[in-house]
């Protein structure tokens, strides 16, 4: 092994990340090379073979006596209660994050109910507009969904959730700078009053509401 190669390997060697064979090569080189032993030997010795430590006599007894003196009973219950809560929160941080996301969507859903929506989709005889479509078609919701679709594509959680709740929604970021949201015609069983046209499904363009940087 060359000295230059050893210099490159020493950090991994000290981090214990080398394969055993490579670590053995390093050991052999350090034992044989004066230059590398002068450069690295002291540090390796310090980190692998330092002088031992001995505890002062009676330290254990002093510690136990002090714990007994300062905390005569079991650990305080107030700590226990807080500790249980803190531990639960640590373990369930992901549950908390999901709950926060759900609360966000539900809040938006409820808020959007206040919007009657100036961008109400036109209907024809084959398309019925359910109340949920009206709610989702509000500007705030539609722009949020369009932004989510533009950023993450049709599989974003927001889009999937909206599509799950409102089956008529068909969200496809046809172009990254012009995401569109279409409404599928719902099959009502009524005979069509107008001849079917290609792409007759009304489209809702949300470009004005999409921040420009999303389309850059």
């Amino acid at each position: 092994m060359e000295c230059r190669r050893l210099d490159k390997l020493m950090d991994a060697y000290l981090d214990r990340e080398l394969e055993p064979a490579s670590a053995a090569e390093v050991d052999v080189h350090l034992a044989a090379c004066d230059r590398c032993r002068r450069e690295w030997g002291g540090l390796v010795t310090l980190l692998t073979d330092p002088l031992p430590i001995e505890e002062p006599l009676g330290l254990r007894g002093r510690i136990v006596a002090r714990v007994q003196e300062e905390i005569p009973g079991p650990p305080a219950r107030i700590i226990t209660t807080f500790g249980r809560t803190a531990r639960w929160m640590r373990w369930h941080r992901y549950v908390g994050a999901v709950a926060a996301c759900m609360a966000f969507f539900v809040t938006g859903w409820l808020v959007s109910g206040w919007w009657k929506g100036s961008h109400i989709l036109p209907t024809d005889g084959d398309t019925t507009r359910s109340p949920s479509v009206t709610v989702v078609a509000s500007p705030w919701i539609m722009s949020s969904l369009a932004q989510a679709a533009a950023m993450t594509g049709p599989i974003s959680p927001a889009v999937l959730l909206a599509q799950a709740v409102v089956p008529e929604l068909m969200i496809t970021p046809a172009a990254m700078n012009e995401p569109t949201i279409r409404m599928r015609p719902r099959m009502t069983g009524k005979p069509a009053t107008q001849p079917a046209e290609p792409f007759a499904t009304p489209e809702f363009h949300v470009l004005p509401m999409v921040p420009r940087f999303l389309g850059a």
Partner: protein
């Protein structure tokens, strides 16, 4: 005669002892002290550099751990959780006497340049107290926990409240500083 304590961990598992101690079983807590005192004292001593402070910090660490047994995160080992407490206490103690410490380091630095130490004055690489004293407390703590206590990066990061990459940086810079000092000392002494 000083005693060496054994922390082999035989007998009930640490978690069982923790549960018993949380309900007030002092004997269980005494067993935990027996098992982990060597590690805790060793970390405190290597960070602080003197046995008096190290003993105080060790006592404080076990006392605080007993008070907060319910906060013990079982994703950790009990030993590493204790070492986290001890390290933080040791670092706080260093910082609380920061001004005095910086003055001591300045005096130590002033003595070094221009000096031609005799070979007998150059500390052995095994004299960890001297060498670890030459680097700052964050690098020192990272080196002590990683090299002397085999603590993984993620737990050292939690102890120091820094990202894992910062722990790697501390280790790298601390070792680099030590290497430069040691190889420089060896050059001066011939």
């Amino acid at each position: 005669m000083r005693q060496n304590l054994d922390d082999s961990g035989t007998g009930p598992a640490d978690l069982e002892l923790v549960d018993a101690a949380a309900k007030g079983d002092r004997q269980a807590y005494g067993t935990l002290v027996d098992r982990h005192l060597k590690s805790v004292y060793g970390v405190a001593l290597r960070i602080l550099g003197n046995s008096s402070d190290a003993e105080d910090v060790s006592q404080d660490a076990f006392l605080r751990a007993f008070e907060r047994l319910e906060l013990f995160d079982r994703r950790w080992s009990f030993r590493n959780w204790l070492l986290k407490i001890a390290s933080n206490l040791a670092i706080n103690r260093i910082r609380s006497r920061g001004r005095e410490r910086r003055l001591q380091l300045k005096i130590a630095d002033a003595d070094r340049p221009g000096c031609e130490p005799e070979q007998a004055d150059v500390p052995s690489p095994r004299e960890w107290a001297y060498w670890l004293d030459q680097i700052d407390e964050a690098q020192r703590t990272a080196i002590v926990l990683f090299h002397f206590q085999d603590m993984p990066y993620a737990e050292i990061a939690e102890v120091l409240q820094v990202p894992v990459n910062t722990v790697r940086t501390y280790l790298y810079r601390g070792r680099k500083r030590l290497r430069e000092l040691m190889s420089g000392q060896q050059t001066e002494s011939g």
